[in-house]
């Protein structure tokens, strides 16, 4: 199945009679099953799923500590600045950092493949 080329469906459509026909669904299944698309999906999920779990656990830890570890959260670090405040600010830092990391990752590992598959599909439609 994975050997199906995405363009095969474009031949099925009759370009002379219908102006810019939507790509038939069969070709979407072919694209979805292609190794290239599977690679794109894997590249995306490899980043977003573990990262979602990570930031959610990190946030949950913060909320749980706020609820159940008040003594620890109240420890003063410098002057009146305590663990709770630093922990809260670290949530800001981690959010900014994850957003930045995702943008870099997507630029390098997702966008080029996505654009290539899109270009192939668009070219198939235009034929």
């Amino acid at each position: 199945m994975t050997t199906d080329v995405p363009d095969s469906a474009a031949q099925a459509a009759d370009p002379d009679r219908q102006p810019a026909p939507a790509t038939p669904a069969r070709s979407y299944i072919a694209v979805q099953d292609s190794a290239e698309f599977a690679g794109l999906r894997r590249a995306l999920r490899r980043f977003i799923f573990p990262m979602t779990v990570a930031f959610f656990l990190w946030y949950a830890l913060y909320v749980l500590l706020s609820a159940y570890a008040r003594g620890f959260m109240g420890l003063k670090i410098i002057g009146n600045i305590n663990v709770a405040l630093v922990f809260g600010l670290l949530q800001f830092v981690s959010t900014f950092a994850i957003a930045w990391a995702y943008s870099r990752y997507a630029d390098r590992n997702i966008d080029p493949t996505a654009e290539k598959i899109k270009a192939d599909l668009d070219a198939g439609e235009a034929k």
Binding site: A25, L85, E115
Partner: protein, 556 residues
């Protein structure tokens, strides 16, 4: 006596200035709206601003939609009165953006057109799923709208300094509240019906600049007062609050520890429940989701979320300084005297800073007026975004796809959207007038809980789960909405305690005031169960959805 007269004089100066500045904002935004209406020709213009906005513009507009009066006045007030616990809200509201960034924004932008339901119904039976999505969109938006409009009504008397027994333009405080709700409602209807998404987006951008500017100015003044020493600001805030070191630690407001073990247990559960709803609700808010359609590509959608995270994160850091600044410079007692919920902490801080830095009472009155006008601008922009989201869903999902089965023309659809905006506005005005006694923070938390329980499971399953189907979408959406609303109805928020809506009767059996901890898992479980109990599964449509979502092929 002369002090009193001076105070009255500066009060009246502030009032005149507030109204003048607010009218300037209204005039500018109405000008933009009329200009935008000339650029609005197609349905894409009306629903999605012609998809012509840049990442930065849309990022500012997302900030404008998201930083509501509840964030600005509410969180600053919570921090001023309860110290650290107000900060918990900000953190949940910010971290939530990672869900939107990583899991939702780009895929939604690629595969949808105008509304949330475009993605949810993509591979399902259109009419039932779009109906469910419209119900959910309108439920979330109405709760959120009520929160903002009731908040506007509650604030006007305070911001314009209408005290009990005094009048303004012949109106006492209660009449002024109703008049404000009607005025806010009328303006939001005009923004949406005339300017569509394009006009509304520019209003959000202008508002975001004003709000960030105001918050930044006040923060610099607060920090300057403490010679940029954060520790001494915190120390002063703790001392002035009368709570001491506990003011800087979690536990004064959420997860309160008391003598009763069960009360302590439920209070802590309530904190966890609030925390989970805040972090999962954002990516299910319809008025935020439709913002992703205003940019040309998924990559721009990503950039706009990155900008939004930067802007919103900075804003919440500023509210931290504002809240602790208000506690230190105004003091908890003076804030409570004005408003028991603390909503006036930021304006009061503005007045104190103006007196300190800009030459006495006139300076105080001026800064108060500026911040009060910014607060009104904030409310106005947020309600416009909400009205647009609900009217888009009514017109595009319910009218065009459910009633007309996809046969409506663009022109008809946009006309219905304008009528729907008018109707939603009228309903929101009426409900707000009757709901004036409702707690604003509760309404916002409920909107987040419904969005997290009803919308988020359906969105995530639609985008990532091959097997998901119509039955699963309906189960997830309806059980999420119903469980969140029902649990709140039977919670102490509605009956049985001194702070309830109905104080004299008690039909409460659910011990938490935030339903998320139970209703969000119910939404996800119901979506799973509904799916496996139905054989339906459109393999081809899922292939199309996934290919389009990940590559941007065929994106509108």
């Amino acid at each position: 006596m002369s002090d009193f007269l001076a105070a009255e004089a500066s009060n009246s100066t502030a009032r005149t200035l507030t109204i003048t500045l607010f009218l300037v904002f209204v005039a500018i935004t109405l000008g933009i709206t009329v200009w935008a209406s000339r650029q609005t020709k197609t349905a894409t213009d009306f629903y999605a601003g012609g998809r012509s906005f840049s990442g930065f513009q849309n990022g500012m507009a997302i900030g404008g939609d998201y930083m509501s009066a509840a964030s600005f006045l509410g969180i600053a007030g919570l921090i001023a009165l309860y110290g650290y616990d107000g900060f918990l809200y900000s953190i949940g509201f910010l971290v939530a953006w990672l869900v939107a960034l990583l899991l939702v924004a780009e895929l939604l932008r690629n595969s949808g057109r105008y509304t949330m339901a475009d993605v949810l119904a993509f591979r399902m039976r259109q009419r039932p799923v779009r109906t469910a999505a419209a119900v959910s969109t309108i439920t979330v938006s109405i709760f959120y709208l009520l929160a903002q409009m009731v908040g506007a009504g509650a604030l006007v008397a305070l911001l314009l300094g209408i005290r009990p027994g005094t009048t303004f333009l012949g109106m006492d405080a209660d009449t002024a509240k109703v008049a404000t709700i009607i005025l806010v409602g009328a303006l939001m209807i005009i923004y949406v019906t005339v300017g569509g998404m394009k006009g509304t987006t520019y209003v959000q951008i202008v508002k975001a600049f004003l709000l960030m500017g105001g918050a930044l100015l006040m923060t610099i003044l607060v920090l300057a007062q403490y010679k940029f020493n954060l520790s001494s600001l915190l120390g002063d805030a703790a001392q002035q609050s009368g709570k001491g070191a506990a003011f800087l630690e979690p536990g004064l407001r959420y997860g309160v520890e008391s003598a009763s073990a069960s009360a302590t247990f439920y209070s802590k559960m309530d904190l966890l429940s609030l925390g989970i709803a805040l972090v999962l609700g954002t990516a299910g808010l319809p008025h935020i989701l439709i913002r992703f359609y205003t940019v040309p590509t998924a990559k721009t959608a990503r950039k706009s979320v990155l900008w939004a995270i930067g802007i919103i994160g900075t804003f919440y850091l500023l509210t931290l300084a504002l809240g602790f600044g208000a506690a230190a410079l105004v003091g908890g007692a003076a804030i409570r005297e004005q408003d028991a919920a603390g909503n006036t902490a930021a304006p009061q801080l503005a007045e104190a800073l103006g007196v300190e830095f800009f030459g006495g009472d006139i300076g105080g009155a001026t800064l108060l007026a500026i911040i009060a006008a910014v607060a009104f601008a904030t409310i106005l922009a947020v309600v416009a975004g909400l009205t647009l989201a609900s009217s888009s869903s009514l017109a595009h999902d319910f009218y065009a796809n459910v009633i007309k089965r996809g046969e409506a023309s663009e022109r008809q659809e946009v006309r219905v959207a304008r009528i729907a905006a008018f109707a939603i506005g009228a309903v929101a005005i009426t409900l707000s007038i009757f709901a004036q006694s409702l707690n604003v923070a509760f309404l916002v938390a409920l909107a987040f809980a419904v969005a997290a329980s009803g919308n988020l499971p359906t969105i995530l399953y639609s985008l990532f789960w091959r097997r998901f189907n119509t039955s699963g979408a309906l189960w997830a959406t309806y059980s999420g909405i119903v469980s969140a609303v029902v649990l709140v109805f039977f919670s102490p928020v509605v009956s049985g305690s001194a702070t309830s809506m109905f104080k004299t009767v008690d039909f409460s059996w659910f011990p938490l005031s935030n339903p998320g901890l139970i209703s969000i898992p119910i939404g996800f479980l119901a979506g799973w169960l509904g799916t496996i109990l139905s054989k339906e599964n459109d393999r081809e449509k899922f292939a199309e959805l996934e290919v389009r979502a990940l590559t941007g092929h065929g994106a509108h």
